[in-house]
Amino acid sequence: MKNRYFFIIIVLFFFFFIVLFKGLKNPNVYIPELQKEKNLSRFEASDFYSNKKTSSLDILNDNNFYLINIWASWCLPCREEHDYLIKLKEQNLVKLIGINYKDNFKNAKKFLNEMGNPYSKILKDKNGTVSIQLGAYGVPETFIIDKNKKIIKKIIGPIDKKIYNEILLIIK
């Protein structure tokens, strides 16, 4: 009888030890599901230049691929990816929508003057709420939206050469 209890305790001990030990090695930083297709939820934001309120339905009205890019002048990785955004614009395969995240208007304008403006439309996100409506985590972040207005890919972090080629493959 005692032996059996002892055996059960040992088994339980090892069970919990293995479960917890495995858990130790799991990263406890959240990794979002990037591959899942998602409907784009409707959002409203004011225009970067005119301050006029517009809705996502008015902006994404063409039968076109769209790239929504969240950026800020204070964000260093945004500078790294900017050349790729300009290149994407030159390909004329996709329309770029910029969301200016928690930024100062003057600095943002200077950023665009220096680096070029790849966006066909820029929206303001002064307090970060627009990005959250989209399901974003921070800057830079890019969403690829297909012709059915579905988010088909989400890129967290700056666009590099590899991701640039991936985007081209998707939109072609």
């Binding site: 979002p32 998602k38 307090n127 409506q133 985590y137």
Partner: protein, 123 residues
């Protein structure tokens, strides 16, 4: 003249009423804040966190409440955007059946042990 006498009372009534409803609203807000995880912080709800991300999320919750969304609808919205992990209330599904089932299992096991002990003592 009589109306003037009653005016302060009416005023007090309405101001109390409005502060009461405000309090109710902020209680609900706080409840929702506590049930949503700040996904860029570790192990904190957005209620606990003062990070930029959490502050923006709080604003979105407030906007949604003002636009007439219910508590449940707000959770569904955030789960849609960020996945189930954002909620502190895990759903019952194939990934979580162990989590939900384990306490019941332990409870039953403990009960069985106690019953057996009692039976042994009686004998």
């Amino acid at each position: 003249m009589k109306i003037i006498k009653f005016l302060p009372i009416i005023f007090l009534y309405f101001s109390l009423f409005s502060s009461f409803s405000n309090e109710k609203n902020s209680q609900l807000e706080n409840k929702i804040f506590k049930n949503l995880r700040c996904i860029i912080c570790q192990g904190q709800s957005i209620y606990d966190s003062q990070s930029d991300f959490a502050e923006s999320m709080k604003l979105v919750v407030k906007q949604k409440l003002d636009s007439g969304m219910s508590e449940e609808e707000i959770y569904i919205f955030f789960k849609d955007q960020y996945g189930e992990w954002i909620s502190y209330d895990p759903e019952f599904n194939t990934k979580t059946y162990f989590l939900w089932g384990l306490p019941v299992l332990i409870f039953l096991l403990g009960g069985a042990i106690i019953l057996r002990k009692l039976a042994v003592l009686k004998n």
